[in-house]
């Protein structure tokens, strides 16, 4: 890749739009993921009692079980949300950018 193309890409506002949009989306989802996982872990570390509480009177299932399964499902959903948006919106923007600088 030559210096010229790098300079043209850096001068193109679409490049900065792509980088800032995609990176801030990635960072946002990373923060959500950290809250999702560490929230659960710290809950276990600090409040085991509450997680063992039954879902409702007479139930065997504790609050911790659906929450734990929920952490897994949220992890799957967040990952796929990123993949979907990056593969459509961000990749389209990327394709436009490359078309502009290489024409």
């Amino acid at each position: 890749m030559n210096e010229d193309i790098v300079a043209r890409i850096e001068a193109n506002p679409k490049y900065h739009e792509l980088v800032s949009k995609r990176n801030s989306f990635g960072i946002l989802l990373s923060i959500l993921m950290i809250i999702n996982y560490y929230g659960y872990i710290l809950l276990i570390a600090f409040n085991k009692q509450w997680l063992s509480t039954k879902l409702a009177a007479g139930w065997t299932m504790s609050i911790g079980v659906p929450l734990g399964i929920g952490v897994i499902i949220i992890t799957i959903v967040l990952t796929n949300v990123y993949v979907r948006r990056a593969n459509s919106e961000f990749d389209d923007l990327n394709a436009e950018l490359i078309k502009e600088v290489t024409k």
Partner: protein, 562 residues
């Protein structure tokens, strides 16, 4: 490779399986029922071996260049690669170990399995597309992109090999122990068998064969686990609540299995273990390598999306399987426990709940299938590890460090095949040497090194413009030394392996990551900041071009056209 050699190999491998089985049949006359079961398992496994060696033969014809060997020519689709990553990552330890943990402690098993999943979003959001855009064959390509090649590659290859070595020992010892129980084969025979088959896949079929072995294994494992979980839920009219109620009724720990127990001790350990798993996954060389097998960033993202989905789904299944084992095995000690005595534990030990449950629910045939899946699982994981170890040696050390980038594809390929052979022999040797050792800490140590040495270097070199070779290498070495050193003086090695008195371990936490990974980042930052050499100046000036390529994929290595 010619037609005849593959046939001979296939015959040889099947011969070894058959001979091993015959040995086992004559070895222990006391447990006739177990032998009959083993033959079904061996037959199932032989079918798997026959199919995968057939694929290896097909793959061998397409493995002509170094690119074919390392990355299957970059022609794997996102969906296929997702399955292969899942196959690479879902080890026998996570299938048998986590369901065993759920069987023993209930809820704690769920906490553990969540930990093994949370590294995937990190890879997705921060690494996958950048890896694909910057790299070609190994993660060192990415870490060393704008840096001084010799020191960076030497460090990255060391980091890769150390991680691969610990991960490999754990797998080989696990393989020997597991196969001893499942198939009745001798420990040494089992380890040699794993070594020989794994070398066949990698040596002749390279990444193409390894990928398909991993895909087939992932499908078998997911199908088997789904069947088990559905059969369990069917017993309770698909009501998890009914399943839990019955489990609490029969389990010796009663209601305690529905809440967190002793797995998470103190908050520091909790966070440290969490960091190890979350960021360690993004530093595992055999996982990172899989991102170079797809044609572009779009497919790289798709692979990680699919991988996360399958792995997450699989961990939900292991939770159900563990509870299913409680309700199906505990009420029948006469069938599943040593001497029919609950106090003496399950036949074959603590990793057996999923296996015994498959016998309870699907009879001999399904027991054989699940046992074969467990064996296949180990093969797929060790094949991936060997390939990444071989590429670290041939691509990073041989081609770049010793030949300064002037090695041709043919000689690089030759070196990687010789290395594969050496690693295979080395793995068998270590597997036998560590037979009686406690290796429980090794997978966690591999993750700790990956997150303390490989991940910070990769992360900073790609995302921080002021990072320099000196900073990255210094920080990486600090992370490597600290993660290994602190693990040695922690309870899991100091007391459990080195037999020092209880309570004498100097490092009180379950994982070093919170200190070692932080230290690596700090050292990378400080040393890079202080680095005012001309080389550092050059490296910083190369950052914009690297960033453009990592973000846009312009100039990225392309598929080699199959």
């Amino acid at each position: 490779m010619s037609r005849i050699t593959t046939r001979q190999l296939l015959g040889l491998a099947l011969g070894v399986v058959a001979a091993g089985g015959a040995l086992a049949a004559g070895a222990d006359l006391g447990t006739t029922q177990k032998q009959a079961t083993n033959w079904v398992a061996i037959a199932m496994f032989a079918i798997f071996v026959a199919i995968t060696l057939g694929i290896t033969k097909w793959a061998a014809a397409r493995t002509k260049t170094a690119a074919d060997f390392y990355t299957a020519g970059g022609g794997i689709t996102g969906f296929q690669n997702g399955l292969a990553i899942a196959g690479d990552y879902m080890s026998a330890a996570s299938f048998l170990g986590i369901s065993g943990l759920v069987f023993a402690n209930g809820f704690d098993g769920l906490i553990f399995s969540i930990g093994w999943l949370v590294g995937w979003p990190v890879i997705t959001f921060l690494m996958a597309e950048r890896l694909r855009n910057l790299g070609k064959f190994t993660f060192a390509d990415v870490a060393a992109y704008r840096f001084s090649q010799v020191p960076m590659r030497s460090f990255a290859a060391t980091g890769s090999l150390v991680v691969v070595a610990f991960y490999m020992i754990a797998q080989m010892v696990g393989a020997g122990q597991l196969i001893k129980v499942l198939f009745g084969l001798d420990y040494t025979v089992a380890v040699v068998l794993v070594g020989v088959l794994m070398m066949c896949y990698v040596l002749f079929g390279g990444m193409t064969a390894t990928t398909w072995v991993q895909i087939i294994k992932a499908i078998m494992l997911l199908a088997g686990a789904t069947f088990l979980a559905v059969m369990v839920l069917l017993q309770f009219g698909f009501s998890p609540e009914a399943l839990f109620t019955k489990a609490v009724e029969v389990h010796s720990k009663k209601d305690a299995i529905m809440g967190p127990g002793a797995l998470i001790k103190d908050p520091v350990s909790a966070i440290s273990v969490g960091m190890t798993l979350m960021f360690g996954t993004a530093g595992l060389p055999h996982i990172l390598m899989r991102f170079f097998t797809v044609p572009n960033a779009k497919e790289a993202r798709k692979s990680v999306g699919w991988a996360t989905t399958w792995i997450g789904y699989f961990y939900i299944l292991t939770f159900i399987i563990g509870f299913g084992a409680i309700v199906n095995l505990v009420p029948h000690p006469e069938l599943y426990y040593v001497d029919g005595d609950l106090a003496k534990g399950l036949r074959g030990g603590g990793n057996m709940p999923a296996i015994l449950l498959s016998e309870a629910l699907g009879g001999n045939l399904f027991l054989g299938f699940i046992s074969a899946v467990a064996f296949a699982t180990i093969l797929a994981v060790v094949a991936g590890l060997t390939l990444s170890g071989a590429s670290a040696v041939s691509h990073d050390l041989y081609a770049t460090v010793f030949k300064h980038g002037n090695a041709d594809s043919a000689s690089e390929l030759r070196v990687s095949k010789i290395t594969t052979l050496c690693l295979g022999i080395f793995a068998v040797f270590l597997g036998i040497a560590f037979e009686k050792e406690n290796v429980a800490y090794m997978v966690m140590l591999a993750f700790a090194i990956a997150c303390s040495a490989n991940f910070p270097v990769l992360f900073m070199s790609v995302l921080w413009k002021d990072c320099t070779t000196k900073g990255a290498v210094a920080g990486g070495i600090v992370g490597l030394v600290l993660s290994v050193g602190l693990t040695i003086v922690s309870q899991s090695v100091w007391e459990a392996v080195l037999k020092n008195p209880k309570g004498s371990a100097w490092f009180p936490y379950s994982s070093p990551a919170i200190f070692s990974m932080t230290a690596a980042f700090v050292v990378i930052y400080l040393v890079s900041k202080m680095d005012t050499s001309a080389q550092a100046k050059l490296e910083r000036s190369l950052y914009p071009a690297q960033k453009v390529r990592s973000e846009t994929g312009l100039g990225a290595a392309t598929a080699s056209g199959h």
